[in-house]
Symmetry: C2
Subunit: 197 residues, 2 copies
């Protein structure tokens, strides 16, 4: 029944640090430099980094390579995470071909739908999941089918669901759901923009 509203904010910032660290060309880097580049507070950066590493040195800062390794390890990016997509419409297709997951150990290994020769049929879902040790499912089906797809994924042993439908899924306690409600995100942008005018 957990809908992770209370995503720990650190977990969102660590990948940002990683992105930045992978991009720059220096041996060492200070919290101030990172903070300035990402528009964050330097103390916050330091605290975040202490959580995963704690190997900074006064006057010098952090060794870039260590930091990359430590963040990757903490977040689990050093391991392969296999995911499948259910629903091969336009959005499903876009995610299936999305390039940005590589640095995070994420691999989308298959897509499922009904009556679509290009991808696997949803009837073979469980078979595929158990045979390939799949832990993550991405739901990109229409709202009407979202809950039943979620139920099925859980039956098949999925542990984490990335939910692009606008339905709040009912799931058992041990399953993690990350809701990615695009309409909501956009409407927050609209509200904040109007507030500012």
């Amino acid at each position: 029944m957990i809908q992770n509203c209370k995503t720990k904010k650190v977990y969102e910032r660590l990948p940002m640090y990683l992105d930045y660290l992978n991009k720059i060309d220096r041996e060492s880097v200070s919290s101030t430099i990172i903070a300035n580049n990402l528009n964050l507070g330097e103390v916050q950066v330091r605290k975040d980094l202490a959580l995963v590493s704690g190997k900074g040195r006064p006057k010098i800062g952090y060794l870039r390579k260590n930091l990359i390794k430590d963040i990757s390890k903490f977040m689990g990016f050093d391991q392969k995470h296999k995911a499948i997509i259910i629903g091969y419409g336009k959005l499903g297709r876009a995610l299936y071909n999305f390039k940005g997951f590589e640095n995070f150990g994420i691999e989308i290994v298959a897509a499922f739908d009904i009556n679509n020769k290009d991808v696997l049929d949803i009837n073979h879902l469980c078979e595929y999941c158990s045979g390939n040790d799949i832990k993550f499912g991405i739901i990109t089906v229409p709202n009407e089918s979202a809950q039943s797809v979620a139920d099925k994924l859980i039956q098949c042993g999925i542990k984490g669901i990335w939910n692009f439908s606008s339905i709040r899924l009912q799931v058992p306690n041990e399953i993690i759901v990350q809701n990615e409600n695009l309409a909501t995100s956009f409407s927050v942008l609209i509200k904040e923009t109007e507030d500012r005018q």
Copy 2:
């Protein structure tokens, strides 16, 4: 320079209430009922609703129709918000055809890219924006071009940017950026799922 990390959480819940209210078939509804259905606290629901409406009545609850009207008005969903997409790759295409925006007054009126006959050319961006009173831009170009596209959008009078690149955009203070970093979202799901095991 504002990257709205501190999205007010209420702004994310109000659209959820709206979704739910549009779905149910009752005259009136209590905070308890809403809370149970959306897995939230009832006090939280009541507080959120007080912010936009404050017309609940003891013993009865809230009139569904009033609530819908009040939330819509507060969030600005009663007005039309025109947006354009820059970058007509797979993701841009998916968003361009996304059905879920309708209830929020959001309309994606055009897409732009370079050397693509199916959509408008980016050279005509400003022309189009000023001629059609466009306030919102959606960036779905590769990382390398994201900042330059943002700059251009701002030149053309855009007030809010929905950024699907993984770059942190540098923008003036009065511009609102909503970052939608898909890889980050997914990696948070992975981390939280692993934590739970």
